[in-house]
């Protein structure tokens, strides 16, 4: 008996996690997929009716806005956060005296709820109160910064806040990467008189390719899941100018009583994640196994 136990304990202890994730994720996704094929409105119905929820979804202008916002937001957020994070890491890698404390400060935004820090951003970006007034006070009377309430630009304020939240995290990843670059190679390059910028672009940055990949995966997953950021700062507004797929789904399920639409939008989001993120994850897996 004890022998049997010892042999099977590894599998037994893994089973609860395995089962929980299996049921929780796939079981419920299957349910959502099923509902997306029905005529459910306020309450779920289980008679399959075909793909009409999806045609309705693609015809909805609001969904168009949400998907467009996801592309704009996702692309800008990922690129800017990566570039800023890399620059911050290089800055912190210059033998700064109080590096430990600074690293913590850079990471703080990531540790705090965006629901809460969104308050400060609302104030800063508020045309009547924050940045606009401060700059006008400096003598630039004509300075205008009303992106938060301008339907054409509101999504960019979400990008600003998201970059603020995540660039410290990217910095920490890159900083660890910079530290792991072989210092012998760098010394050799320095002895050969190669300029510092060239050392960075030709040796250090290329050697951190795996970190770019991890950062990309985490950032894209943050972008697709961004929900609290929008809720805290604009609540999807003005109008539905800053809707993202997650807030669209939320609005359909809980304020519009349109469960079928909510389910089909959730399935499309799922598809987007699968096509973008999962291939990267598996390529990562393969290189690690080699």
């Amino acid at each position: 008996m004890t022998l049997w136990l010892e042999r099977h304990v590894p599998k037994l202890v893994l089973a609860p996690s395995f089962a929980a994730i299996l049921l929780f994720v796939y079981g419920f996704i299957a349910w959502t997929g099923w509902i997306s094929l029905t005529k459910s409105r306020l309450m779920p119905k289980y008679d399959i009716e075909g793909v009409q929820q999806y045609t309705r979804l693609f015809d909805a202008p609001r969904w168009d806005v949400a998907m467009n916002n996801l592309y704009i937001f996702g692309a800008l957020f990922i690129v800017i956060a990566m570039v800023l994070g890399l620059l911050l890491a290089i800055l912190l890698d210059q033998k700064i005296r109080t590096e430990g404390v600074l690293r913590t400060i850079y990471l703080y935004p990531m540790a705090l709820s965006m629901i809460v820090t969104g308050t400060a951003w609302k104030w800063i970006l508020n045309p009547g109160l924050g940045l606009e007034k401060v700059v006008q006070g400096w003598g630039f009377e004509n300075f205008k910064f009303d992106w938060l309430v301008n339907p054409d630009y509101a999504i960019y304020t979400i990008v600003i806040a998201a970059v603020w939240q995540s660039s410290g995290f990217v910095m920490a990843l890159f900083l660890a990467g910079l530290r792991s670059v072989d210092s012998e190679i760098i010394k050799a390059a320095q002895v050969d008189g190669i300029p510092t910028t060239r050392i960075y672009t030709a040796i250090i940055i290329p050697s951190m390719a795996p970190i770019f990949l991890s950062a990309f995966i985490v950032l894209s997953h943050l972008a697709i899941k961004s929900f609290d950021l929008v809720i805290a700062m604009t609540n999807g507004g003005p109008g539905y100018a800053t809707d993202l797929p997650a807030t669209y789904m939320y609005a359909m399920a809980f304020s519009r009583g349109d469960l079928g639409q909510a389910a089909s939008s959730a399935m499309i989001m799922m598809l987007v994640v699968f096509t973008i993120v999962v291939p990267y994850l598996y390529s990562e897996l393969r290189t690690r196994n080699d």
Partner: protein, 276 residues
């Protein structure tokens, strides 16, 4: 990249790094400062940075009017409970994957992690309905379970990366000396794994503390934690910046303080163990 830096360069670099640090910290600092202003000073034109009459009035009002203690208690129970439960389930799983790996271990691990990439909205509604059926909508236990499940892949993954670094030879030596499985786990593995477990716990507490998607959707009056409290506060009182700031400051203070005193774990946790 370690290399020689002249003293002047060092001062310039440090100043630049601190300037960036201040800019990053500014929104947090501003929230804290605003919480001590009167409502009129909070929206003064031009904005007042430090020369205002410090007051605790906002804190008093927020505490009296909104039952802050109840939300705080809910946050503590939900964050603490889901973390504890998650770690209890994940430690054995991570242990078995790190020390008794099979051919499939890597695949299982990647699969678990990949589920974390899926948007939560896909499973929101079924859980919502299930919770109504079970009568645990808007309850602490319901949220503890959901947040535990949501973060389980990350806990398992992080613990695994830490456990991986514990040399297997030590375990073999212990086994040679006749240690049983139980003794091996309690006397050898656990002490060596404590730093990793601490980072994992801190990360998970932070994630659960900040969780807004599930708490907003699955709670109402009874089990709502601080995030839901702030969200509810910001709509009807949208113009009362000082009071909202006081409420916000009270919501972020525990994380700010906890993070400050465990900086190493904070960095390690928030980077999912990539920075040890």
């Amino acid at each position: 990249m370690a290399r020689a830096v002249t003293p002047q360069r060092k001062i310039i670099n440090t100043a630049a790094a601190w300037a960036v640090g201040l800019a990053i910290f500014f929104p947090i600092l501003w929230t804290i400062l605003t919480s001590f202003k009167t409502e009129a000073q909070a929206i003064a034109d031009p904005p007042i940075f430090l020369g205002f009459d410090w007051t605790l009035e906002n804190y008093k009002v927020v505490m009296e009017r909104s039952d802050y203690a109840k939300y705080l208690w809910n946050s503590i129970i939900i964050a603490g409970g889901s973390t504890l439960l998650g770690v209890i389930i994940a430690v054995p799983a991570a242990w078995s994957m790190a020390f008794v790996p099979s051919r499939r271990t890597k695949d299982i691990l990647m699969w678990m992690l990949s589920t974390k990439m899926l948007p939560a909205v896909g499973v929101l509604y079924p859980i919502y309905l299930l919770f109504i059926k079970l009568g645990i909508l808007d309850s602490q236990i319901g949220l503890v379970i959901v947040l535990m499940l949501i973060n389980l892949p990350i806990i398992v993954w992080m613990l695994y990366t830490y456990f991986k670094e514990i040399p297997g030879e030590i375990l073999e030596a212990a086994r040679m000396d006749g240690a049983t499985l139980k003794e091996e786990v309690i006397y050898i593995l656990t002490p060596m794994a404590v730093p990793g477990i601490a980072s994992t716990i801190l990360l998970n507490v932070i994630l659960a503390w900040n969780e807004a998607f599930w708490t907003l959707n699955l709670t109402a009056a009874k089990a709502a934690p601080l995030t839901a409290f702030i969200a509810s506060y910001s709509s009807p009182e949208g113009l009362f910046y000082a009071k909202l700031s006081a409420a916000s400051t009270m919501a972020i203070a525990p994380i700010l303080i906890l993070g400050w005193f465990s900086q190493k774990q904070l960095v390690s946790g928030l980077t999912f163990g990539a920075v040890k």
